[in-house]
Symmetry: D2
Subunit: 293 residues, 4 copies
């Protein structure tokens, strides 16, 4: 999976198409791109069942003067792909990166890893802000030139107050949210209010060890591998569509804190891949699954 | 983890010691080996808690004319390690391989893999017999010069009849049993009657997807890795001490049958490692955990 | 990468297109398939340079009554894709599996693994014959219902005599050849005479440890991972286009023979994946590289 | 491999013993520890050849009031292990961490990763200083409270001037040096003058792609995996004893810069493991090999 360097994203559009499979979709989409003077750079498609299944397609194409042409292309998509084929479609200008917010807590390894990758130019996003329920990372975040807001988590089940503050900060400012070991369960109403995708990193190989203290549970069960899972957040805890997972070997002598130390490496790898792929429009949600192109 | 070639196992003993940790155990055990003219070849020890924890030790030592000296060594162990230190110990002559029986079903990939590895000299065991509830593998098993018995599984929950036949074949003939995708749940009474360790391969990364059809469940959950787990069988389904696990990457396009095809490779790798380590006395059970030296 | 079960290959064609990249290829190919009543099942494309680069495409499409329509489709391809676009193309009926011959030597792990995978239905090929310079595997090969020929390797550099016998057996009977640890260097004239792709498995992570005794060299260098590489054979030893590679962890205590034991697992995995992908027309050679779709 | 948290290192000693193998070493060492009121916490030993081979042992033991007792223990070691057995030995107080210096260049991923891990308490070392031939990382390094020195590399082969400045900074202040993608070849005289172990990270799976631009070479060769290797620096480029290696999968579509992006993750993982193990006295050099306990 190649990350296209930012500079080369000018005049590149990413078109996502999905819906009921039927013959001729590839031909129709590629003909549309051609007649709109586009040149296909990357093309992926998948049908979960050749007969009466769902169809998914991701196309990246180059079109000189894209921004000026985008309106006409969208009208064409509406008429043909939306109209004749009855498919859903979204098109994005790759030159305008998605705006990402990071929610963090005391553990800073995933947070700092994302900030560092972004500074290196490895994450094609803009980072709007970091919100943490601990103040400890403020200086680090500022050193990356990113706004930092400290919103303490009120103890007890009712998170409405802190969630309200967070929503206020996020609303209108972000295209997606990353929970970098945020360790707070977000309410369905929060997810509804922010209205953008929320990506979480869970420190186990889901569906094993759902919920709190997975490394402790892993130690108790005596597993020989530990893992991490990045998924879209839904109203059901740790049950959302999985974007990426990975595992690492452990041994009988490793303590629970050693599992946490090793797991931290897997967490930041898995989360950064999930964020990269989401930022590149490589991930399509379908029910409780993801198609990752 | 090195597999010592059979030839070099002559006059090699493997001593396992475990019990309550206390200072001086290493010194006592190594002094005992030295005064019995043994030379330590491999030495592993582990304490799960330096203060008041459990102690585990595996020592392989060479002693010219081992079989003649074994009696005296055992008496010494009884007196010092058992007596003074109050530890449990077992000593085995590495030159006499463990007798293994394989229980199989229609799926033959794990069964054939074990037979091939044994023929190549990669598994230091003797294979007493293969028992299957399907006749299909008979010719293959015979081509390896191994006795094959077909014991059909009676439909329904009551397995006592087929289990009784299997116990009759196994009793006194085996030191451990391997379930090579046997796909039948063994009753507690069966485990009691055979009275030897039983190693199973489960086709998921436990504790994820316990029970039947793990690949189907994995496909439904949309995981990005599948795995296999080899564990000792206990009366609780898929809850026994884990010996070895591994995972392999899958993608959204992989069907459930493709997961099964890929998983088969992981299953035979994981099972063969678990069997090898058990055969080499590398695995010590402790509660629901294993120490693998 | 999904292996389509044989049964479902009826009326499926695989079209490979490659040549100089230019706008409109995807549209032209998909339009051609649509106007020939084909429905695209899988579609992969790659351009090694958006500007003036080489273009590669693999399309699998379903077309009822394919065999009857194949002539017309080929004529259309010749006219448009070959003519207008000046691209090279090949189309194959997926229902007619490629004919594979295996050349083997004393080490049988890769040979038996391929035979076993084929019997399970995991390799969509037909196995024409096994040729070995050792007689040891004859019974095993026959047990799979595959013809076995013993062609001893004449000592010394001049292999022309044994190569002539092998060419005689292979000519006209195979679509590709697999060297399953054949351990003999084939002459350029042999490669020319057989005139089909030859896939080799080398027991190292190329380009490390080219040539003989890679495990011995790996032990001497003290590497912490060993590997295996499957590649197309060219006239230069171990320099052909790489299809697949993998590695496995080893430790300081592993002897050279232990490295060989572990490596054998990696070898058969890597070779079987390379053979599968070649059999599915997923591998396109381009200079000394491969594109694997 | 468990990293013991700093707090728990008080009164813990690590004893390394190596030399010609002979019977009774384990007994002698463990008896010595027992008679000096030590309790063994971890014990590893290895002999590269049971007959006339070299012997290696690492023991961690707890001894109340270690610092006061160290003199007597050393005298005992000198008399018995050094004298009677003629073995080399070193004993270190685990509570006093090794002093590490980092040499870096423009690429900061390995440098920052080590600083982060140290701040998290995952590396039991003290960081004396960072020396870089680029000024860019100064602020980042200072934010970790670590001294930073900018020593530009003089163009051309003669590095004596800049090396002299570096030696001046390092002499007497460090126990080992880490080259975190330093990208300069150090002269034999430099290695001699600093007189401490130097650990390098090379961005390929050695011995493949020795020297400059390994990712470019990997792309040219068309490998399917890239890797990283951490090794002790010797006077021969990229030929020193390997401490740790790892690999990651790449695909035909990955550009050389994408390989570098992915490789960066492997580099920092591999280097951090090598540094951790060296800091814990787990790595013993033997000729051009390492034993990693």
């Amino acid at each position: 999976m190649t990350v296209v360097p930012d500079s080369s994203l000018t005049d590149h559009a990413c078109l996502i198409v999905h819906g009921a499979d039927r013959p001729g979709i590839v031909a129709a989409v590629s003909a549309l791109i051609t007649r709109n003077q586009g040149n296909i750079v990357a093309f992926d498609q998948y049908s979960d069942d050749p007969v009466g299944g769902a169809y998914f397609q991701r196309v990246v194409f180059h079109r000189a003067g894209l921004s000026a042409a985008l309106g006409a292309i969208e009208a064409d998509l509406e008429r043909t792909i939306g109209g004749e084929f009855g498919l859903e479609w979204t098109i994005t200008d790759q030159a305008s990166p998605k705006r990402m917010a990071i929610l963090a807590s005391k553990q800073d390894h995933c947070l700092l890893d994302l900030l560092w990758r972004h500074r290196r130019g490895d994450l094609p996003v803009s980072i709007s802000m970091v919100i943490s329920n601990h103040p400890n990372a403020a200086d680090d975040v500022h050193s990356f030139g990113v706004p930092f807001f400290h919103v303490p988590s009120v103890p007890g089940p009712d998170k409405s107050e802190s969630e309200a503050k967070i929503v206020e900060l996020l609303r209108g400012n972000v295209d997606f949210i990353v929970l970098a070991r945020y360790m707070q369960i977000l309410s369905p109403s929060f997810l509804e209010q922010v209205g953008v995708p929320v990506i979480n990193i869970h420190h186990s190989f889901l569906p094993a060890f759902i919920g709190a203290e997975p490394y402790k549970k892993a130690k108790e069960r005596g597993v020989k591998l530990i893992g991490a899972t990045s998924h879209y957040v839904t109203s059901e805890l740790d049950e959302g569509p999985i974007i990426e997972q990975d595992t690492v070997r452990v041994a009988h002598g490793d303590t629970a804190s050693e599992l946490a130390r090793r797991g931290a490496d897997v967490e930041r790898q898995v989360l950064s891949r999930a964020v990269l792929w989401h930022a590149q429009d490589r991930v399509i949600r379908h029910g409780n699954h993801t198609i990752v192109f």
